[in-house]
Symmetry: C2
Subunit: 227 residues, 2 copies
Amino acid sequence: MSKPPARIRLADAAFALFDERGYEQTTVDDIAERAGLGRTTFFRHYRSKEEVIFPDHDRLLDLIRDRLATSSHSTALVTVSDAVRLVLLHYIEEGDLARRRYALTSKVAALRDREIASVARYQRLFREFIADWMGDPTESASLRAELMAANVVAAHNHVLRRWLRGESSDPVAELDEAMREVLALFATPGPLPEADGGTTVIAFRTGQDLDALLPSLRRLIEDDPQK
Amino acid sequence: MSKPPARIRLADAAFALFDERGYEQTTVDDIAERAGLGRTTFFRHYRSKEEVIFPDHDRLLDLIRDRLATSSHSTALVTVSDAVRLVLLHYIEEGDLARRRYALTSKVAALRDREIASVARYQRLFREFIADWMGDPTESASLRAELMAANVVAAHNHVLRRWLRGESSDPVAELDEAMREVLALFATPGPLPEADGGTTVIAFRTGQDLDALLPSLRRLIEDDPQK
DNA sequence: CACTGTGACGGTACTCAGTACCATCGGCGG
DNA sequence: CCGCCGATGGTACTGAGTACCGTCACAGTG
């Protein structure tokens, strides 16, 4: 029963005190004292009182940057949808800690704002990635990139919050489902694009399974004079 | 040329000093002194040093709440799209002040975070409004509300930032156009219209590959009420 | 063992945002 | 003239965050 490293003891002390007295009612001195350390040491490990609650965002951001740079799917949106899973998985790994943090951010406005700012950084990263990927400097493409990033993040947040509130037992599956929803939004074109090239699809409802229809659909596409 | 009210003098002094020395290098004492007022008076007019830059967010939020409560369009999304114009119009009214603020938020992380947190409040308001309007407590409806709110806000931010950067001469028209884009996203892919018997045919053209569409096609089929 | 560098820690003192409280001054109606 | 009141100013405090310096443990080296 020797001592865990200082960083851990500080975080434990902080969460314990936040639970007992609340965030604002806890001073950095209190935290350091309970951890059996000096105030200076606290700031050596955490840049601020808030950061003791969100220690991993920077690392996660780098992780996602890497993932975006390496993994490459068919579309930018799919790549980003995949990358955002890292965030969800990270929270899930934290388990109870993530839930305690959620309880805090629900009560303390300053912490909620901080969390939101962190999420906005993910969103910005996604937006830039999508815009680069599309390579289209058009205003309309730029807006589209913005919307896509916002959707991915919003869908993720939705699923994450459900899990944090204990409303979800299989958040990963829910995320996949939500991402399918987002993909579906953008799969069907917003304004009907200029019809030069691309794919024209006619969908109709029958008693048949979709798979049974695929061959004929493909045949139709291949019959397209432009292709 | 007597004295403008204290509140104005404080804001002028603050912006002048922020321009001269930067935000962090300016203390509240400096601001008060330049305005010819006491430090106490500053905090009587602005709750914090940051608030002198974003004085109107609370009022705007109330304004939007009212607008949502009164104006009623055909769908929740249209109502919200309409309400968000208030934000854009407010910034445009501020004119050069808004641009100076943008220059500051671009440089100072703390201010950027603050701005983002404010915007998140609008988004939350929109989400709740849409969710209430739909009245459908389903998980899927809840996600949809979240996505819609995120899209409206993202589209607005996109247009607003373009205007702030001087890239747009008619931001209101651009906002309308962007909102049409958002509406189009959600217009098509809802649950398929009542398909009790008969044949539902939907034709659309997309630039995407058929394979990219398959997930959404499958999803549409699985939305069949019989399931 | 003595020497020395190094990294983690503690303490002190400072700046500055934000709060609490009290004192002051200038109208303004009675 | 008096008393009320709203706006202001001053003073003192708490607490976050920073800068700087001193200390101690513990390595490796002679």
